[in-house]
Amino acid sequence: MLNHIAQRLALSVPVLFGVLLFGFLLLQLVPSDPAAIIAGPMASPELVAQIRQDMGLDRPIIIQFAIYMARVLQGDLGVSLISNTRVTTELAEAIGPTAELMFACLVWAVPLGIALGTIAAVYRGRLLDRLVIAISVAGVSTPVFFIGLILMQYIGYHWELLPFIGRGGPLWSLEGLASIVLPALTLGLVFIGPIARMTRTAALEVLSADHVRTARAKGLAERTVILQHVLRNALIPVVTLIGLQAGYLLGGAVVTETIYSWPGVGRLAVGAILASDFPLAQGAILVLALAFLVINLIVDMLYAVLDPRVESHG
């Protein structure tokens, strides 16, 4: 298992390097000369040249990249061109809400998706199964923003049941809880389809396995067979596949945050890109990429823990 995880870690090194290189290139796009900004409009050319030298801007580009990497590793992502605050400060405020939204989505969508998939597999070929398949096909064919707009229009506006703009407060307060329902519902609804589908496939495979027939033959109740013998084994592929869908979740989160004005990293990234705020865009994309890497790493470890056979595959 350690071998497997080490391999994954080794793989993330070039990825991290690529992400950093991208962040560096993005900062090269800043139209103005950073040294001239620091020196101020009245500065003499000599002073600007002096500052350039101090900042390492006159060094070869590779050295500059090394300086950039050192700065990022120390947690310095620069200053936003628009709000003039530190990028790390803005990101620190946005990470919490994004994590909150993802959690609030997964906490109901994953169990429901797994339940739907299992039901479909057990009642294979019957009406319930077809219903679940229809739901999941519709789910993977619907854009996130459509679900968001519909929920917003009916539940938020027409029936005035729940707030639909911004974040009301922390998750444990009543306002916070009320304001996260619609975004979490939106993001979860597109996620149920793929999960149900994967679970169904995995459960169908396990249902025809020998050990399930043995369990039935020894007279176990059908409920015990399904929950303990089928679902437990079916969960292994489902966990990996949920990990593979992390990108899907991330994309959905970016759109959901934008629709509901949710103050998360995705909305920050989109806003920064549209406003050509390169340092902020660089920081937000760096954080999103890092989050994606970490999620995949965690899923890999979980997979190795759930399925001892991974070890032998290396």
Partner: protein, 298 residues
Amino acid sequence: MADLTTQAAPVTVQRSWLSPIWRRILGDKLALVAAIILLVIVLAALFAPWLAPFDPYETTRRPFIPPRWSEGSLPQYWLGTDGQGRDMLSRLLYGTRLTLVMGLASIVLGGGLGAMLGLLGAFYRRLDPYVMRSADILLSFPAILLGLALAAVVGPGLTAIVIALSIATVPDVARITRSAAIVVMGQDYMEAGRALGLPDRTLIWRYLALNCISPVFVFMTLRFGQIILIGAALSFLGLGVRPPEAELGMMASLGRDALFFAPHISLLPSLTIIAIVLCVNLLGDALRDLLDPRMRNM
């Protein structure tokens, strides 16, 4: 003798994988309906300039006209007008066109490159580790992140989206192609072709590529729907096509401000996207069941 073999191979391959598809789709009612709807949508998009009753970019003094079935509609605007008084039907036709172009360009570029890499990796085993490691690295960037990053670098626009979606398609297609090609590489006819002294080019394109086309084709069909969804989401965020050009995702986003009193401006383009993606997915599922039942897990 060599000529005879090379000419005969593609013909038999095509006959054996194309004709059952049509027979199967004609038999599968759901897939048939999906195919017909998709065909109508594609034709409508193709002939948009002739079908559109109005100029899709021309603003008028009659904004927020609802569609024909609601109160307060005008007879000349079948699907109403948007916030700037532009005819919705005409914009939908042009928007569908651009959405389909975006998806097709990405799948052709990214899928083509991915398939080529997969073939080369399977054929030249020395290249294989490099191809697979690059695919692993590329897989670490979700499409939406690539889209955001490219929009940040080259500025929002159709080019950024198509490049991002193409890059995101490459690794998956490369993997699928490689795994199919490795099976084909073990077949006797590859050995026979080599023994005949055929050049690598012929072996790769005539023998290898044509024989792994079906799983790759199925995968690309299913991927096409996803690509359209991601592309539409990126343009919904404002990172895609620039106004006044119309693209379905962007149109849905434009109607957000008027959602509560003129919902059709947002919902009609969204529904068009759903129709396209749903039909593509249903067709893809039918193709997969027919051509490659092992891929059900994907």
